[in-house]
């Protein structure tokens, strides 16, 4: 508690103008930046995978399973930042037991469960079911056990059964797309529905969150695909990279337009909070908003990707550029979340001043925990790749003898 007070006194000394006394502490800190960031990556990666399956985009085939597994890895960590940021984490289950029907946040548990259990796990299960059965036969020791459990005891891999897998998997993917939209549009709604906060309160928020989620998810898949190919020492498929790059370009344009529209609307209406928000943008958010999010995270990738639509330099250059772009876009979207979450709490709701955000290092809501939570999905991703290697899938439907 002493440390906490010391921290608050330090922030207090940096307050500009007047803020309500209870506003000195920033209540949603870096963990709540991570939460929409991670769910966004999930939704984006999943939507990319679904595109391949539903619209039968053959060139994206090499990334299909990677996207699904990445989505699962990130989804499994998505709740952690939320739980860690609670002051009473041991009570988190209440959100499932007595959800308040009027609360956007209460629905999260259910949206999450739906997405995890009904969409992602099912899609992966149907997709891998045959392989589970075959892998269970082939492997030894603990792996054999794991695969056997994963089959849920269904060993039927006759063509007829596999046809069913394919059909239901397709169906799940189709309901998965609106579910992914729901998952992330809904995260945007958590912020967009707060009428007390003019920086958040906007009907555009869910849509903006959705498109930025797609941008980040596509960039993530691009990044992971290149890394995984590099580690496996096989060349990444250039056609696939180009197509993902093209998608990224289009979605990035849409995302940028929507965000610009939101800001223009805000400028034009110029409500009572406008002067404060303007000071926020040109002051405390200048670097994270204009330099990182807009210039580095959006404009530069747009120019590079746009150029590639007309002029294609040598493969090697394109490869390196795609790699850099994927990282830059991922960073850009992280700071987009940052600007929304942290930016929305820097100004006082009295519109007479600003508080200050100082990132703490240690502690439940500190930088170290956040870095750990950000690294965790990559570890899970690696584990899942080891457990469910897409490149070891049995592609030809076997005609089993029983």
């Amino acid at each position: 508690m002493e440390n906490h007070f010391e921290h608050l006194y330090e922030v207090l000394s940096k307050v500009d103008g007047y803020i309500y006394p209870n506003e000195i502490e920033l209540h949603w800190s870096i963990l709540i930046v991570l939460y929409p960031y991670i769910t966004g990556l999930v939704a984006g990666a999943f939507i990319l995978a679904s595109l391949e399956r539903v619209f039968n985009v053959k060139v994206l085939k090499p990334t299909y399973h990677l996207s699904l597994i990445a989505a699962l890895a990130f989804l499994l960590t998505a709740t952690l930042p939320l739980i860690f940021h609670l002051t009473q984490p041991q009570r988190f289950f209440e959100i499932m037991i007595t959800p308040n029907p009027t609360s956007a946040m209460a629905i999260f548990g259910f949206v999450y469960m739906w997405y995890l259990m009904v969409v992602l796990l099912l899609e992966i299960w149907f997709d891998y079911r045959k392989d589970f059965v075959l892998w269970a036969r082939e492997s030894k020791g603990i792996k054999k056990w794991i695969y056997t459990i994963l089959t849920l005891g269904v060993t039927d891999i006759s063509p007829k059964a596999l046809k069913w897998d394919e059909k239901i998997g397709y169906f799940v993917t189709v309901i998965g797309i609106p579910s992914a939209f729901l998952l992330h549009g809904y995260v945007g709604f958590i912020f967009g529905s707060i009428k007390a906060n003019p920086w958040w309160s906007s009907v555009m928020m869910p849509v903006i969150f959705l498109f930025s989620a797609m941008v980040s998810g596509i960039a993530l898949v691009l990044f992971l695909y290149m890394i995984v190919s590099f580690i496996r020492k096989i060349p990444s498929d250039m056609k696939c990279l180009d197509t993902i790059g093209q998608y990224l370009f289009y979605i990035l344009i849409l995302d940028f337009t929507l965000e610009a529209l939101d800001q223009i609307h805000r400028f034009y209406e110029a409500e009572e909070s406008f002067a404060t928000l303007q000071m926020l943008m040109s002051g405390k958010l200048y670097i994270t908003l204009f330099i990182i999010q807009i210039l580095i995270g959006t404009v530069i990738p747009l120019i590079a990707l746009g150029l590639f639509q007309f002029y294609k330099p040598a493969e090697k250059i394109r490869r390196i550029t795609y790699f850099i772009i994927s990282i830059v876009v991922l960073v850009g979207i992280f700071f987009m979340r940052w600007n929304v979450v942290i930016g929305g709490q820097l100004f006082s709701k009295s519109f007479y001043g600003f508080t200050n955000f100082k990132l703490i290092l240690a502690g439940q809501e500190g930088l170290f925990v956040s870095l750990m939570l950000l690294a965790l999905p990559f570890a899970i991703f690696a584990f899942l790749l080891w457990l469910l290697p897409p490149w070891k899938k049995h592609d030809i439907i076997e005609v089993s003898d029983d």
């Binding site: 289950f93 209440e94 499932m96 037991i97 007595t98 308040n100 029907p101 259990m117 099912l122 299960w125 149907f126 079911r129 849920l152 005891g153 269904v154 039927d156 007829k160 059964a161 069913w164 897998d165 239901i168």
Partner: protein
């Protein structure tokens, strides 16, 4: 014909949902939902807090002199506990729990310092730094009866 994997999945889901429903039944706290979407017992919890401020009447019996003085002059609207702090412990055990006897010029200045925000018709103000700075206020004004 229902394919076997569907049957199996249905069973798994049924079990998960069943477990969830049972957990929900067990974990929902007592009295939840009786009056609305909250624990009705929380109303009692919120009431279950000792009152700290007892009001002027509670001092009367033991501090007749001060009460009388106080009532007779311009400070009569000021509650005793506004200056002396919450009296709940003092009232029941006056010998072991003492109330503060406010001291210093700054104490009176909280209310009487010249300030444009302070309505002049409600309270007379002085530039404290210039009003007899070498003495304590209570050397000339009785806090309970300022014009004594």
């Amino acid at each position: 014909m229902i394919p076997p994997q569907i049957t199996r999945l249905s069973i798994v889901f049924a079990i998960i949902i069943g477990v969830f429903l049972v957990l929900r039944l067990i974990l929902t706290p007592v009295s939840f939902g009786e009056k609305g979407h909250y624990r009705a017992l929380a109303l009692i919890d919120n009431m279950d807090h000792e009152m700290h401020y007892m009001g002027n009447e509670s001092c009367q019996n033991c501090h007749e002199l001060e009460t009388e003085m106080h009532a007779s002059d311009l400070h009569s609207d000021l509650p005793c506990e506004g200056c002396h702090g919450p009296a709940y412990l003092h009232n029941s055990k006056p010998d072991s729990f003492h109330l503060v006897k406010p001291e210093g010029r700054q104490f009176c200045a909280k209310c009487h310092e010249q300030n444009a925000a302070r309505p002049g018709d409600l309270i007379n103000q002085k530039i404290i730094a210039e009003h007899n700075p070498e003495y304590q206020c209570i050397e000339c004004h009785n806090p309970h009866k300022p014009w004594e």
